[in-house]
């Protein structure tokens, strides 16, 4: 079985992915910023501490251990997760590292496949646009977005631009939100408070993806040689109110304009990561991924619902 490089390896998603890849019999080169692999070792698992914000480190990784191990694929899912952070270093991780990985993979002697885990956040949600989001749906390029979300759009487009430019086979998986801790999930942060405020008079449909389904989608993309963009929806498509209820929280409907100041205040006083500004459209209007292309081309069908109330993944 061919080997795979997995970036952002210590997140809950990548950790589950690595376990699945090892179970398939693959060799895995896991990379993250942590000094040591914090989980169970495995004889086919190789861990490297890499600072992906530095081009030189990426070059040394790809043309060093990755070449020695004869890896044939990269699954790139290293992103900065805190939406409140900004700056050059964060952009370097989110966008420049992605660009560098794609460029170097193009001329790498053994790597043939590049899978980029993107986000449904890149799509624009608006009442005038379809509620079922296809891969050709308009992207959200608003300047009002936090940097981390703008970076996601730019990184996604960076990978898409490289499609068909060389021999590297590229798949971009635009995944619904994984509602789990330590995964950059805004919905997870939102559902952490005992009382969840939501816009009065609106109850949009949300699409939530389980880690199991995301891992399965990445495995299918790895096994396939199909190029292109694929929407990866979840088994949990439900109204915002139902998500609050399923998480065992109490909801209070508040006029929309009051929610921004209230959540800013909460963020200041409680240190919450939830940013209402970047969620205000999807908290008013539905946006559900249409996963038909992933179903037809990759054979992906979401099968694992979330284990509500929202699971918390603690690093052991």
């Amino acid at each position: 079985m061919s080997g795979v490089l997995v970036s952002g390896a210590t997140t809950p998603v990548s950790r589950a992915l690595i376990e699945a890849l090892l179970a398939e019999g693959r060799t895995v080169l896991a990379v993250a910023v942590e000094e040591r692999w914090p989980f169970e070792p495995h004889d086919r698992l190789h861990y490297h501490q890499v600072d992906l914000t530095r081009d030189r480190c990426i070059r040394e990784l790809l043309f060093g251990p990755a070449r020695e191990l004869g890896l044939t694929a990269i699954i790139h899912s290293a992103h900065h997760r805190r939406t409140s952070d900004s700056g050059r270093k964060i952009r370097a991780l989110n966008v420049e590292s992605t660009r560098c990985l794609v460029q170097l993979a193009e001329r790498h002697p053994t790597i043939e496949r590049f899978i980029y885990r993107s986000y449904a956040d890149v799509y624009r949600i608006s009442p005038e646009l379809p509620q079922l989001i296809g891969e050709d749906h308009p992207l959200e390029l608003g300047s009002w977005l936090p940097q981390v979300l703008r970076d996601r759009v730019e990184a996604d487009l960076t990978v898409c631009t490289a499609m068909g430019m060389g021999s590297l086979s590229i798949a971009v998986l635009r995944c619904a939100e994984v509602c789990a801790s330590n995964s950059g999930s805004q919905l997870h942060d939102y559902l952490q408070s005992r009382v969840c405020l939501r816009p009065l008079g609106y109850d949009p449909m949300l699409d939530v993806l389980s880690i199991e389904d995301l891992v399965h989608a990445l495995q299918l993309a790895l096994a396939s040689d199909a190029q292109g963009i694929f929407n990866i929806g979840g088994r949990d498509v439900l109204p915002l109110s139902a998500a609050i209820g399923a998480a065992g929280k109490r909801e209070v409907a508040v006029p929309g304009p009051a929610l921004g100041p209230l959540y800013r205040l909460r963020s200041l006083t409680r240190g919450s990561e939830f940013n209402y500004g970047s969620n205000r459209f999807r908290f008013h209007f539905s946006g559900v991924l249409d996963g038909r292309r992933a179903r037809e081309v990759l054979g992906y069908v979401p099968e694992h619902p979330i284990d509500w109330p929202v699971p918390t993944y603690v690093r052991d």
């Binding site: 749906h137 109850d203 449909m205 949990d236 498509v237």
Partner: protein
């Protein structure tokens, strides 16, 4: 949540006759995981909506319909109806009629103007009851999944036209014809008689709350108790005469839409001619 989950079920049971309620439990839909479909429709909400409007349907507007057998029992299809009456009561009556008279009950996905999702409460209620916004991508996917659409190709000009122009159809938009040709879906022409007289519009005020296209000023605060008559015509199979590529031909789509308009207009004319009185 616009209501606790048990409320729609309890209200439906309270408002609907027992046999109707039992029949409507057979509503089929694609559960996306939590009892809702991907667009937010919930069968309990559909039943509650039918229950809420059943009084108006059966006792106030005393709707009578003819030709429901023309609505296909399954597969993609588009109901194309005339639109009038200042408020979309005609759409609601058509919806209730189709849900009640088809078996197993089919929920027509009424295609709403794109400003409706901006309306608080109304947007959520309509979504739960099965209506969808008029964005092309959404309706296209619904047809691909074999759903029944309800379309009013006159749009706002139809619903806001003055009383003096009643039962004279405004020019049809072409979207329904394009969809029918592209997705090989039959069009069921529908004439709704009675809605034109439910409100007499004094004036259309130039106000646009939540992006609404107009603000009507009616002569009466409530709709008049006109009798509704709904006529379903035989399906028009545009797809048998137009190849799929014609969906990208503006002239072909225009011709197909004009053809559908002529059929609906003829159905409307016949319905108006056949009725003996407006109110009974």
């Amino acid at each position: 949540m616009i209501a606790p989950p048990t409320l729609p079920r309890a209200l439906a049971r309270l408002l609907l006759p027992r046999d109707v309620d039992r029949r409507l439990r057979r509503i089929s839909f694609r559960d996306a995981g939590h009892g809702y479909d991907r667009l937010g429709m919930h069968p309990d909400w559909v039943r509650m909506a039918v229950g809420l409007f059943n009084g108006a349907y059966a006792n106030y507007f005393r709707v009578e319909s003819h030709g429901i057998e023309n609505v296909p029992a399954e597969g993609p299809a588009i109901l194309v109806a005339n639109h009038s009456g200042m408020l979309p009561i005609d759409a609601i009556m058509l919806n209730v009629d189709v849900v009640q008279k088809t078996f197993p009950p089919r929920v027509p996905r009424m295609v709403l103007d794109v400003f409706v999702p901006k309306l608080p409460f109304v947007s959520s209620f309509f979504a739960r009851a099965g209506a969808v916004s008029g964005a092309r991508g959404t309706v296209r996917r619904l047809l691909e999944e074999g759903e029944l659409l309800g379309v009013f190709p006159e749009g706002t000009p139809g619903i806001s036209k003055p009383f003096s122009e009643r039962y004279q159809l405004k020019p049809f938009r072409v979207g329904h014809a394009e969809l029918a040709i592209r997705h090989r879906a039959p069009i069921v022409p529908v004439a709704i008689i009675g809605a034109e007289e439910q409100f007499v519009q004094l004036k259309s005020v130039d106000l646009h709350p939540f992006g609404a296209p107009f603000m009507p000023l009616p002569a009466s605060p409530f709709p008049l108790p006109v009798r509704y008559r709904i006529h379903y015509g035989p399906p028009i199979s545009l797809h048998e005469r137009y190849p799929q590529e014609a969906a990208d031909d503006p002239a072909a789509c225009r011709a197909a839409a004009d053809e559908v308009q002529a059929v609906v207009q003829a159905l409307v004319d016949r319905g108006v001619e056949e009725r003996e009185a407006v109110f009974w």
